[in-house]
């Protein structure tokens, strides 16, 4: 089991966003978390990557307890988080953004090779390596953000709403990419609004509503689920 959450609670100040959330991400699989706006999906990502602290429950990575570790420690543990809205460093070049992705010692050592790999994966980024990240198109920014996360050579990749704000064609490209990353053996946890697309890519998914897990199942099961079909796929 790559990642497991057991009865995790978290929030901001006096506001609780997650209530006793339990989920599991087996190694090598792609798991999705779907749900409406404000359900707590981003909060979930931030708890896992260490940006906000755990208020209760346990967070385990490969059997080790990692709850309570700060974000930069989590990266060393092998978790990489592609944040909502990409959050590239706008006035750094594409290559600088990628470079900073490789900040941790184990990634720094293999910086040159890693950079090559990412450029192979994203030839367009290589073309624009000296361009300021803030001037890239939406799709290119997403590529850069994903590439930046991959530079740390993670075991688990967290993706927060990768399709947000992107044109449909670009969205398809992004999810293609997710398939390719998965094929390389990386474990992926995706939080998504675009239920249709994400269910095509993941093995299983969780439905998060108002901070609790309402449903879980394989993507096939969920695709056939009435509630999901009506509420989230418009069918």
């Amino acid at each position: 089991m790559m990642l497991s959450l057991a009865a995790v609670s978290a929030g901001y100040g006096s506001f609780r966003a997650l209530f006793d959330v339990s989920l599991e991400v087996p190694a090598g699989e792609a798991v999705g978390v779907i749900g409406p706006n404000g359900a707590g999906k981003t909060t979930l990502m931030r708890v896992i990557s260490g940006l906000i602290p755990l208020r209760g429950g346990a967070l385990m990575l490969e059997g080790r307890s990692v709850g309570g570790l700060a974000a930069h420690r989590m990266v060393e543990q092998g978790i990489a988080h592609v944040p909502e809205n990409r959050r590239l460093f706008p006035r750094l070049t594409v290559e600088d953004n990628l470079r900073i992705g490789a900040f941790i010692p184990q990634a720094r050592r293999r910086y040159a090779q890693q950079l090559d790999q990412i450029y192979n994966l994203f030839p367009r980024l290589k073309e624009r390596r000296e361009q300021l990240a803030g001037t890239l198109s939406g799709g290119e920014q997403q590529m850069c953000a994903i590439g930046r996360a991959l530079m740390s050579r993670p075991k688990l990749l967290l993706m927060d709403e990768p399709s947000a704000g992107l044109a449909p064609l670009v969205v398809a490209q992004v999810f293609d990419l997710v398939r390719r990353i998965r094929a390389e053996g990386l474990t992926v946890l995706i939080v998504e609004q675009n239920v249709q697309q994400v269910l095509e890519v993941v093995d299983r998914a969780y439905l998060l509503e108002v901070g609790t897990i309402k449903l879980t199942g394989t993507s096939a099961e969920l695709k056939g689920n009435d509630l999901i079909r009506k509420a989230y796929m418009g069918l």
Binding site: L51, A70, V75, R87, F89, L92, D96, I104, S152
Partner: protein, 284 residues
Amino acid sequence: MDIYLLEAIINGLLLGGVLALLALGLNLIFGVIDVVWIAYADLVMCGMYVVYWLYAGLGWPLALACAVAIAGVAVLGILVHVLIIAPILGSAPINQLLATGGLLFFLQSFATLLFGTEFRNLGLRLPIIELGDIYVSSARLLAFAMALIGAVALYFFLRRTFIGTAIRAIAQDRDIVGLMGVDQRRIYLVTSAIGGALAGLAACLLALQYDVHPFIGNTFGPLIFMICVLGGLGDMIGGFIAAFIISQIISIGGYYSNTELSYVLAFTLFIVLMFVRPRGILVR
């Protein structure tokens, strides 16, 4: 062109070098940590005293004294951050500014306590270089060269190294750098150390040319703030350019009238420019 005017321009250029170095340091700290060290010029003063004490007092070789001064002020920079800034990082920005103001008082009085108010000199008599009809102090020339070297070194550090890139990144998006494995606190410490080191380097360069006394910080401190705001607070390149503009104004102004008046001119120009371009003259 009048030879003295040319001399003034050259001297302005040379003066600008050290000012630019200090502007870089102050902008670095502001850009990354979002705090203005009001006492920055007084850190320089401390460095100058270290050089004075080691070289003129204990007879150490000048280069060694300078190296120790640079390291010393770098450590001082870290202490400033750990003891004064870090505890109040969360509170109103004006508090941090004022806390460093309290540091200004402390440093100036402590220096008075240790060394008294007399002006101290390194006792160096570096030769005056003759270029045609122009006389240039070699101390000033050396200071300019070292300042440029320092600036270039800083540039490459920020551009090419991992930590340097992290420093630039954190200035653009503080919250997200953790996701890349960057420890925010560590970067703040490194930045404070670099800011201190730059002040230490400036201290060595100034010690070559000027006497040191506890309140020397008051003579160029406000000037540095003005330069930084003029170039855009946090904008390293803007501050660098603004330093040379201001130093030219002062130098040429000093040629046409007395020194203080040229300062008044510079400051007044600053206030005026603030209203024409509040975000700095190089708005980008």
